[in-house]
């Protein structure tokens, strides 16, 4: 059944973001990541460059969404890649490299005192040419989303960030965090319920 057909039967618009495709492409990269890790363990610094270039966007985004600050986020991301470098010889490609990396970042986020007190960082949106209020509304909505996600308890926040923004499945979150599947399920249910209540006025449609 296609998304359109499903939408027609339930009357619900489905999110069409290619989340699962992103995960698949990540998995297909895992062999290359493993090769890079072998080269890094042998002391090839060019391998570290490739790893950083390949993964920095998602790692920095995750840390930024968790902390709300680029300076703290980049400190966390840098330490994550330094750990990858330090422990390259211990890496065993039994799990996807990205999952291992998410685990490092997650632990760093939870351990960082600065990261535990996220600050509100609202990006400014330029005023529209036609004088409409839409940019202001978008900005307020963005602020509300940031505020409510960052108001979640730490573990719920991590679970939602990995699930909604990084596209990880329940099982992948469990692997990346070391929490049990049941715990992840419970965290996500509570987090989405809180977000549903607090973001009610900002819902689309």
């Amino acid at each position: 059944m296609t998304d359109d057909a499903e939408s027609a039967s339930t009357g619900i618009q489905y999110d069409t973001e290619p989340r699962l495709l992103a995960i698949d492409s990540r998995d297909s990269d895992s062999l290359a990541d493993a090769d890079l890790m072998r080269r890094l363990a042998a002391g090839e610094m060019s391998a570290l460059t490739q790893i950083v270039n390949r993964h920095q966007q998602r790692i920095r985004s995750l840390a930024y969404r968790f902390t709300g600050r680029w300076d703290v986020a980049d400190d966390i991301a840098q330490e994550a890649f330094l750990r990858v470098y330090r422990f390259a010889n211990r890496y065993k490609p039994t799990a996807a490299f990205s999952t291992w990396l998410y685990r490092i970042v997650t632990n760093l986020c939870l351990d960082s005192r600065k990261a535990r007190r996220p600050v509100q960082l609202i990006e400014t949106t330029p005023a529209s040419d036609d004088g409409s209020d839409q940019p202001l509304i978008d900005q307020e909505k963005l602020a509300a989303v940031q505020r409510e996600v960052q108001a979640l308890p730490e573990r719920q926040r991590i679970a939602v960030l990995l699930h909604r923004f990084e596209g990880l499945s329940h099982e992948q979150i469990a692997t990346a965090t070391g929490w049990g599947s049941g715990a992840v399920e419970s965290l996500l249910v509570r987090a989405y319920e809180q977000l549903r209540q607090r973001l009610r006025m900002w819902r689309d449609g």
Partner: protein, 151 residues
Amino acid sequence: MCPGPSDLIQLLDDELPPLDAIRLRRHLDCCEVCRQKFRDLNATWQTLGAWKVPPAPAGFTGRVLAAASAPAAREAPWRRALGFAAAAALAAAIGIAAALLVPRSVPQVAAQSPPDRDELAHLVGLDTWDDAGALFPLFTDEDEGSDQEPL
């Protein structure tokens, strides 16, 4: 039977096995309560999508590579801390060992002989200690070491 909230999340996320997903969608078609819950969840999901991360500061790769090139980069921070602790413990051990092994320098106090009795007698204007005995019969040699009970 109505699905739990986790089933709805997994349906939204396309994580349910195909048959379970079909079964759940059929349920949504006929259960208004669950359909509303799913609509709410989907709307929240879409709202969260408004959060786009702004452009990250440039130069991150260079920063990581510079940090990795630093001499201590290969060493984990806890190992560095362990190294400091080990060095401190070694220094303390050496100090303790040195204190135990080096012979103590006991101050050499010269054994001073008691002053000569005649010198003492001279100090009080007498010629000899025996003259003192004549003047003060209580302090004679016979009294020294006496077993007599003190009065």
